[in-house]
């Protein structure tokens, strides 16, 4: 029943397909090892880690995007593995990826992939992917007819991660990582928001919730979606041949989406861990991030973009990954500053107010900025 003794575990919150792949890889990894590593799929992992790690009950490692790094550093949830890794990160991974796992000189994990959102279109409705936003708007306009269930676009409209590409299009940034300042009141940022408002929000379902947004494209009733690799399988299972394309260009700017580097985090649990556990975790992290089969499987099956230098530029990982790579190159890594934690919720709420037309962009951003600064203090 309640035995804690499941050997060494890692945590993840993967979707089913990803989890299956992970299990396959683990089987390979565990072959011949005395101390087997097991994967736990945790619902609501963020909250669970929040309690488990300080209680000394957490896993040695878990998979998540790099944006928690700063917070983990501050809260002493992370384990600095700089002295323990046999890998030379700089020589193995892309520069962005190496940056992503380090915070103030500490290394809190090993990167294994990067991901972002990009354009997807339904070839039954669209012949050629649009190059520019204007072209895209024209096509969306043709199809958009909510009272008959037809929409132009499936796109979670107020989730900062999804919409960051266009918010950043004119050079604005949610957060200036270099200066540590909030950018949502900048004119460039407001301009990006207005672009979003005028061109894209017109064509998405009126409900910003993720499930509602997916419906039109999923049902074959929308020509476009903007989404990440995790959703591609779902669309295709539903019978829509979702085809990828880079984010369309913007007149007078360029879309710059946030990209996430997927990281195997090292947690504070490693500090007290016994030697075998420690070794297993380290071995796994290094193995997983450098093993060719893993990298290729992840790329081919799940559209995860390699961050290992050898594969990052590779051409034979399939079209999907190539498109994602193209978009990632347009993008910018999410800031891992702990203060980001306090940014997203107010920002999302402000965006929602604008989406609902209950507030003007500038006012909404001003209010959000005020709230965020209030919390920072």
């Amino acid at each position: 029943l309640g035995d804690d003794d499941r050997g060494t575990t890692l945590w993840n919150e993967f979707e089913d397909a990803e989890e299956e792949t992970l299990e396959e890889h683990l089987e390979v990894f565990n072959e011949g090892r005395d101390d087997e590593l097991n994967a736990d799929n945790i619902a609501d992992m963020e909250d669970q880690l929040e309690t488990a790690i300080p209680a000394g009950d957490g896993p040695g490692t878990f998979a998540w995007a790099h944006d928690w790094l700063g917070r983990y550093h501050d809260q002493e949830f992370g384990y600095d593995a700089s002295g323990d890794l046999s890998l030379d990160l700089e020589s193995e991974f892309t520069a962005d990826a190496v940056d992503a796992v380090q915070w103030e000189g500490h290394t809190y994990g090993v990167p294994y992939a990067s991901e972002t959102v990009t354009l997807m279109y339904n070839p039954d409705l669209v012949d050629e992917p649009p190059e520019t936003l204007e072209e895209m708007v024209d096509i969306m306009d043709d199809h958009h007819d909510p009272s008959n269930g037809q929409y132009g676009l499936s796109y979670p409209p107020v989730d900062p991660y999804f919409v960051s590409g266009y918010l950043h299009a004119f050079g604005g940034r949610i957060f200036h990582e270099d200066t540590g300042e909030l950018g949502i009141e900048d004119d460039e940022f407001i301009e990006g928001l207005e672009l979003l408002q005028d061109n894209l929000w017109e064509y998405v379902p009126e409900d910003p919730e993720y499930g509602s947004q997916m419906a039109p494209f999923n049902d074959g009733n929308a020509p476009f979606a903007i989404n990440g690799p995790w959703q591609v399988g779902g669309f295709r299972d539903a019978g829509v041949d979702a085809t990828l394309a880079p984010l369309p260009d913007v007149d007078g700017g360029s879309p710059t989406p946030y990209t996430g580097i997927q990281v195997w985090y090292f947690t504070a649990a490693l500090e007290d861990a016994d030697e075998t556990t420690f070794e297993t975790i380290m071995d796994f992290a290094e193995w997983y991030t450098t093993n060719e089969d893993v990298i290729v499987d992840n790329a081919e099956r799940h559209g995860l973009i390699p961050v290992h230098q050898e594969y990052a530029e590779s051409d034979d990982l399939g079209e999907d990954v190539e498109t994602f790579i193209e978009t990632v190159e347009m993008g910018t890594p999410m800031p891992a500053d702990p203060r980001m934690d306090l940014v997203f919720t107010p920002l999302e709420e402000a965006l929602e107010r604008v989406f609902n037309e209950s507030e003007e962009p500038a006012e909404a951003m001003e209010a959000a900025a005020e709230e965020i600064r209030g919390r920072w203090d």
């Binding site: 934690d341 709420e349 989406f355």
Partner: protein, 344 residues
Amino acid sequence: MSTSFLDRVSSEGQRLLPFETRNLNLFGLLLVAPGVVLFLSFMLFPIAFLVYLSMTDATHAGTIIGGDTNFVGFDNYVDLFTDSQFWTSFGITWLFLAVSLVIKIIVGLGLAMLLTHARVVGKRYMRAIVIIPMGLPAIFIITVWRGMFSGARFGPFNELLATYNSAVSTLAGMVDQALFFVAVSVPEFLLVDLPVSWLSGRWSAFMAYVTTEVWLAYPFMVIIIVSALQDVPMELHDAAKVDGAGYFHRFIHVTLPAVKRPVMFASILTAATSFQQFLIPWIFNAGGPSRQNELLIVYGYREAIELNQYAYASAIMVTAIAFIGLFMWLAVRKGNLAEGVDSA
């Protein structure tokens, strides 16, 4: 023999066993003790810990466990009571409680009366069906209701309104056809502007919470009121009929007084649950829009989990628990709920 047989039986029932007086304390105590101990050990301990936390400066979970906290006295409470968000939360929580309670009572009473009505055939089976919401997991139900209230044009409620709109238009069209010499167009105010963004307006979101809360809680109301209604002596209705009372007056003068206490009892219980409602606002729109509908527990949860202010969150939770306690205490007092306590 001055009382009726039934009265005698029930008053006898209220009596304590007299022949136990010789070795009184021990046996009774022995029987209740395990329950009390179990309850206290699992419930009182955490509450005490929470109260302690609320007087420290704990931020995230690590600080609590690591013991890096300092005792700060009532600072958190002072902050809390000067925080406007707290008062918004507090107000909306009571409003939520009151509005949903009133609707719950009306719905529960209506349903219970319908499902005990002499002319309804198969009411036992209907009663078995009507309580289904009680057995479904709350997260699931709430997620489904979130879907129903989708602001999208294709959300169920919006579809329903669309059907209504087209029915109105069709009707107007028919009138138009019939009276070809007058051009009838549908009056604006009869049509609903679609789609309605249920969850993005403060009050429409609030009503969505209320609807869902009512749906979750009405089964409890219904079974309690059904039980009560079945205990109303038929003769009282007969007496009222003979006295010349119609359906409405019988409802006011016979049915209502008879179910008053059970309804009050059920109300107190569900009101206390409403006060602690967390999942509905959290799943619907996290207490939005713009934290305007953040019920107390949501407020506390957000402060703790999202904003890593555990001490502050603890102060919120302690306040919430204190209010539930106060509420229950008052209800028990005023509602004579403790009759079971006082008279026994």
